[in-house]
């Protein structure tokens, strides 16, 4: 590929001269949502979640661009709760064919379906919905946030490597909790682990006062298990489970040991530099959706740098080719799955204070890339739009 670019530069210097002075506008389109109340207000989601990751990616791209005559910009558009996301996407597409979408699945599908979006390049940095990487995939929509199934596969690899084969699961009532629980069940089956008992969290009591009383009783009925899984994606109740269970068991999933695209405790492979750049910019720690937005903007930057083009079609082809690789501070090059547009990536398994492990774990093999032991592999994905 490098050779090809060199060749192109040699053959058509005019085209390359045109590339110097290239403008690369990117629009960050955010669907604001009303979050349901949670039991604790200790750490609400940051208002700039995701968006600041994109801004860091912009800063990284701009530095590279300054040496190449490429100029990047990032504009943020926020759609208020209940607002018309598709209309905002249409307006954004009139200004740029490169959109970062921080929105739930229905809004993503509405934007991807717009006639104006057909030749555009859209990045999903917020929805972990596994269906978007399968039957509901869209040709113009890439995903930098790992799917629920990538995260649950990572956790199950860890459980299996520990021989924690007996599992129990407590699930919240939000759709996001249910989706993650579904992924946990699917992954448990994939790796031959058994979820022997399940409960739904529907207790109205205020756990800040009653965790010590309620949780032992509830978890007493779960029977024998090695690891207690919890699906509480909005961080409502799960924080009250550790140390209050009937049996002394570790907690994992949405709390305790958490599989995620990124965590503030990731520090190897140069990650400490990314963390400190983010901290300086945001005044807070970098979270998974920040990382996903950073990775999307950096993917655009890397593709522009290597192709010398800002055309969405050229960039999309390059991103999905074997030549593309993103240095994502996780110890291996990141790339996009050609069958569904998902960014292939290691998944850190983190506690609040340290990284416990990073999936794929040793011993989980794959004929092409061990990273494809996480989430939907080509034969499992029902996505046909990328053929």
């Amino acid at each position: 590929m490098r050779f090809l670019i060199t060749l192109l530069m040699a053959l058509c210097p005019a085209a390359f001269a045109a590339a110097a002075g290239l403008e690369v506008p990117v629009i960050y389109l955010k669907q604001q949502e009303q979050q349901p109340p949670t039991l604790s207000n200790l750490d609400p989601p940051p208002a700039d979640l995701g968006e600041t990751g994109a801004r860091l990616g912009l800063a990284d791209n701009r530095t590279t661009g300054s040496f190449l005559g490429h100029s990047y910009s990032l504009e943020t558009v926020a759609v208020p709760p209940g607002g018309d996301f598709a209309a905002a996407a249409r307006a954004a597409l009139a200004r740029s064919a490169l959109l970062i979408l921080d929105a739930p699945k229905p809004a993503l599908l509405a934007a991807a379906a717009l006639p104006e979006a057909q030749e555009a390049l859209l990045f999903n940095t917020a929805s972990p919905d596994t269906g978007l990487r399968s039957g509901d995939c869209r040709r113009n929509l890439l995903h930098t946030l790992p799917s629920d199934l990538m995260r649950s596969d990572a956790l199950m690899q860890f459980a299996l490597s520990k021989r924690w084969t007996g599992l129990a699961l407590i699930t919240g009532k939000n759709p996001q909790d249910q989706a993650f629980a579904g992924a946990l069940r699917q992954s448990a089956a994939k790796f031959g682990l058994e979820i022997a008992a399940e409960r739904t969290w529907d207790y109205g009591a205020d756990m800040r006062r009653n965790a010590a009383q309620e949780v032992p009783l509830m978890s007493q009925g779960l029977g024998r298990h090695d690891l207690l899984l919890v699906a509480d994606e909005l961080q409502d109740f799960a924080r009250y489970l550790p140390y209050n269970t009937w049996l002394p068991r570790p907690v994992a999933g949405s709390e305790g040991l958490v599989p995620a695209a990124w965590a503030p405790v990731v520090e190897q492979w140069g990650a400490a530099q990314l963390q400190s750049r983010f901290q300086e910019l945001a005044g807070r720690k970098m979270l998974a959706r920040d990382y996903a937005a950073w990775a999307a903007v950096r993917s655009i930057g890397e593709a522009v740098t290597r192709t010398g083009s800002s055309d969405a079609g050229v960039l999309r082809r390059y991103l999905l080719s074997d030549a593309f690789e993103l240095a994502g501070f996780k110890g291996r090059p990141l790339s996009y799955r050609s069958w569904n547009g998902q960014l292939r990536q290691p998944i850190p398994l983190a506690t609040p204070r340290a990284l416990a492990a990073q999936a794929p774990l040793p011993g989980f093999l794959h004929q092409h890339s061990e990273l494809d032991t996480l989430g939907l592999d080509a034969p499992e994905s029902r996505c046909g739009a990328f053929q």
Binding site: R2, T6, D60, T63, T64, F67, L68, G270, Q273, S276, R277, E302, T305, R306, E325, L326, A327, G331, R332, P333, S369, E370, L371
Partner: protein
């Protein structure tokens, strides 16, 4: 194994026969990133003979041309420390810019070119006046540093911008920026200065440039049997005296590649410790010492036989290595 035992015996014997004065014995100095120390390895006995305290997170290490002083990047102390090479005593700090990671000493024995990893800057410091001579804006996460043998060109590689930045040492200005594969880590000119090699950790390659034109003339790729290409990550490398051969540390593949510097083909892979980073030769280049970050040891390689002889336990996360002859 027999050979290893034999050569160790030979080494021990030669040490016995020619008992060099303790201060004159050749040494390898290794910075331990997570221990804030330097481990000093005696080349004759292949043992750690001294441990020297440094500032926080020591990484890059290099000696003055007469080997009387050693410079150490104390990254988290935001300084370059100057130590007396005989006593290990810290003499003074140099202003280095923020988070110095790696540096190179100009042939004039005076100017240090320092990569400031957190700051996207290369700082030039005069080691005599202890003043900053220049700061040059480069790409994000500068790391690899090199200077041409004639001293006219300095190189900084930037890990996130994926470039080699070419600095004119007369004007301290950039005159070229060349793209390489992802996460460039280390740069070296060949001894004649006609070529520049740059390793790319995530790209898994070494790019070779013609110094005169800054044009890419070749690319080295690696293939370690039984290791996924993603984990074959070239980092530090060094040339033998005749420049026929380069030894390349391949990070988490836990191997060092032996590359034919003419054909750019890999001739051998040598198994070493975990996440191999940087390296230094013995004075006659018959032995090569590699720092293995994750296993916390140094592997000694017989360069003629291309075999690992011994592992030497050092501190936590050994990073840089430098020869004191």
């Amino acid at each position: 194994m027999t050979f290893a035992a034999k050569s160790l015996a030979a080494l021990a014997l030669s040490a016995l026969l020619a008992p060099a004065p303790p201060l004159g014995a050749a040494e390898i100095w290794v910075t331990n990133e997570k221990d804030d120390t330097i481990s000093v390895i005696d080349i004759a006995t292949l043992e750690v003979v001294r441990t020297i305290a440094t500032g926080e997170r020591p990484r890059g290490i290099t000696f003055s041309k007469d080997f009387s002083r050693v410079y150490v990047c104390a990254s988290d102390s935001d300084t370059v420390q100057v130590l007396d090479a005989a006593t290990g005593e810290i003499l003074h700090d140099l202003p280095s810019g923020e988070d110095p990671e790696q540096f190179v000493l100009h042939p004039n024995d005076r100017h240090l070119y320092i990569a400031n990893e957190d700051d996207a800057v290369t700082t030039v410091v005069d080691t005599e006046t202890r003043k900053v001579v220049a700061q040059i804006n480069v790409g994000i996460e500068p790391e690899g540093m090199a200077v041409s043998p004639d001293g006219r060109i300095a190189i900084t590689t930037s890990e996130t911008t994926n470039m080699a930045h070419w600095i004119d040492t007369q004007t301290q200005q950039l005159f070229a920026n060349t793209l390489v594969d992802a996460r460039p880590r280390h740069a070296e000119f060949t001894a004649g200065g006609s070529a520049l090699w740059v390793s790319s950790e995530i790209g898994g390659t070494i790019t070779v440039f013609d110094t005169a034109t800054q044009a890419e003339t070749g690319k080295i790729t690696f293939d370690v049997k039984g290791v996924h290409p993603d984990r074959v990550q070239p980092v530090g490398f060094a040339f033998t005296n005749d420049e026929q051969t380069a030894f390349v540390a391949l990070g988490p593949s836990n191997h060092v590649a032996v590359v034919n510097a003419e054909t750019l083909e890999v001739e051998d892979y040598i198994l070493v410790g975990r996440r191999v980073w940087h390296m230094a030769f013995s004075p006659d280049k018959s032995l090569l010492f590699t720092t293995n970050g994750v296993s916390g040891d140094v592997t000694v390689i017989d360069t003629a036989r291309r075999q690992a002889l011994k592992s030497i336990k050092v501190g936590r996360f050994p990073w840089g290595a430098a020869l004191r002859p």
